[in-house]
């Protein structure tokens, strides 16, 4: 009897082991498929880039396109490399990056603060609603020259141009989010007698974090537009200045290489914001 039981046990455990290995096998195959897909996507992405660069290089060298206008990659990288090596590129990058960073951080903060004010005083929000809509549809970069006259040519007016691009849309987006917060969440804290300040701090603001972060992401892009336009108008330093200078002296290699640098720096900034996002919403991303 004892023996029988043991045999039975062995059989059962044998079945279990079979099952475990079968399921592990399925999981392994699933993971492999997923990995293959990721690898294929990455390979295609790189292939597109390589193909584009190679085609451009060939077209430039073989005179399919006018190299004076369109330049070609090896010339661009040569340009970037020499200016990096002799150190003349860094001040431009530093200037533009600091303008952009200040612009998009300040734009997001200011937009959030304005949205909070509108939420706190519903009367204000009703009063300003039409103004916000009109301001939002206005091409605010057109105000650039005005900022330069008011604030003088330089860092401050370029940041002001950037803010003019970012603040209104940020305010509208975040305020709309504030208003759309689940009524049940608000009821929960109101039932405990929460003040308006507590309601804002405990519910409205944390519930809006994902939208604030996405505003931050959008503002990274918008801030670049503001900064480059601002630099077109006034600067003596910065990547926007390099572009406009390149146009003036008909050096399109300079123009295009500056664009490549902007693309690289913008990517880094975007990744930083993505890291910030993961930090802030750690743990509760799934709703």
């Amino acid at each position: 009897m004892n023996k029988e039981q043991e045999e039975l046990k062995a059989e059962v455990s044998g079945i279990q082991e079979d099952r475990v290995s079968w399921m592990e096998d399925l999981h392994l195959r699933f993971k492999k498929r997923a990995q293959r897909l990721t690898a294929a996507v990455g390979a295609t992405q790189i292939a597109i880039l390589v193909l584009f660069v190679a085609l451009w290089e060939a077209a430039g060298r073989l005179r399919w396109i006018d190299p004076l206008l369109f330049s070609y990659p090896s010339k661009l990288f040569n340009q970037i490399w020499t200016t990096i090596a002799d150190g003349s590129l860094w001040p431009h990058i530093g200037m533009t990056v600091s303008e952009t960073a200040v612009g998009f951080a300040l734009g997001t903060l200011l937009g959030t603060a304005l949205a909070a004010a509108l939420w706190w005083f519903p009367f204000l929000s009703r009063v300003f609603d039409p103004y916000l809509v009109v301001l939002n549809s206005l091409p605010k970069v057109a105000l650039g020259p005005l900022f330069i006259v008011l604030l003088g040519p330089g860092f401050v007016s370029i940041v002001a141009v950037t803010l003019s691009v970012t603040v209104i849309i940020t305010t509208i987006n975040i305020y709309n989010q504030f208003r759309e917060i689940e009524a049940g969440f608000i009821k929960v804290v109101r039932l405990f007698g929460a003040s308006r300040a507590q309601l804002f701090r405990l519910v409205i603001l944390p519930a809006s974090f994902p939208v604030i972060i996405s505003a931050l992401k959008v503002n990274v892009g918008l801030a670049w537009v503001g900064v480059i336009v601002g630099e077109f108008l006034v600067a003596k330093l910065g990547l926007g200045y390099l572009i406009i200078y390149g146009f003036q002296v008909f050096n399109f290699t300079l123009v295009l290489s500056s664009l490549v640098v902007i693309a690289a720096v913008a990517t880094v900034m975007y990744q930083l914001v993505a890291i910030l996002e993961r930090k802030l919403t750690n743990g509760w991303r799934e709703r």
Binding site: L191, F192, G193, W284, R287
Partner: protein, 267 residues
């Protein structure tokens, strides 16, 4: 000193909602008294003002006419004397379970280390030991509603208002939670008012059931549950011989309530 027993009173209460479309009468001339430790259910068709009544008791809205008293004092706003459990859990996804359960303590400025310790104990008593540092999305619907119960109990209210807290749950979890809630409230000696659509739930859990008619909300019947049902747990009460009888009675009352509404609109 008979007033001592009266935990919760509505005296001649009417409430009118006003909006752009006009004014609508939600409840009219309500008189309800609930004694300390009693469990009372409100049942009725939709539009009978059940949630309005709970909102007035919770101090979220004040009655247009009449008086609402808690332990003899007029209600002037939300207070920690009252705990309110909503139909959905509405746990904040960005807070841990412990922080969710302690939000009432945080708002009322009582979030101390000892209070958090008590919250952990409360979570354990409600069948969620050691889950304080997890996040709501990791929990099932029934577990989340347990956390909501812990959140309501953490501020130690004398009165619990239950606004269909089991209606969004699967049947067997609903039955488990009914037992848990009734057991917990009895043990702590709390007074409770439950709003529900589910007549069986009302009959199984309550000491007394009040049947409301709609448009405007008003009381049309009141049933004191037989002792055998009251002393049994909600799960057991459903199996007792007397249960079906009570259920049928309530059913007939509710039918009559809906009939009364039809008569009203016919006028």
């Amino acid at each position: 000193m008979a007033d001592d027993h009266r935990m919760l009173e509505l005296i001649g209460v009417s409430h009118v909602y006003v909006n752009d479309k006009g004014a609508s009468l939600a409840v009219e001339q309500l008189d309800i008294t609930v004694n300390r430790g009693e469990f009372v259910s409100l049942v009725g068709p939709s539009g009978c003002g059940k949630t309005t009544i709970l909102s007035m008791l919770a101090g979220l809205i004040s009655p247009t006419k009449g008086q609402v008293l808690l332990g003899g004092d007029a209600v002037s706003g939300p207070s920690t004397k009252v705990g309110y459990m909503l139909q959905q859990d509405f746990l904040f996804p960005w807070r841990t379970i412990r922080d969710n359960a302690a939000i009432g303590l945080e708002i009322t400025g009582r979030k101390t280390a000892e209070a958090l310790q008590r919250v952990d104990e409360l979570l354990a008593e409600l069948g969620l030991p050691g889950s304080g540092s997890r996040y709501p999305h990791e929990l099932s619907g029934g577990m989340r509603q347990r956390v909501a119960l812990a959140r309501t109990l953490a501020t130690e209210p004398d009165i619990l208002l239950l606004d269909e807290p089991f209606s969004a749950l699967d049947l067997h979890i609903k039955l488990q939670l009914e037992d848990l809630v009734q057991q917990t409230l009895r043990r702590l000696g709390k007074t409770a008012m439950l709003v529900t659509h589910d007549l069986a739930e009302a009959a199984a859990m309550s000491d007394r059931v009040i049947v409301l008619a709609a448009n405007p909300g008003r009381i049309i019947a009141e049933h004191i549950m037989p002792d055998e049902l009251r002393s049994a747990s909600p799960m057991d009460a459903r199996r007792l011989a007397g249960f079906q009888n009570v259920f049928d009675q309530l059913w007939a009352e509710l039918e009559a309530a809906e009939g009364a509404e039809g008569g009203d609109t016919g006028e």
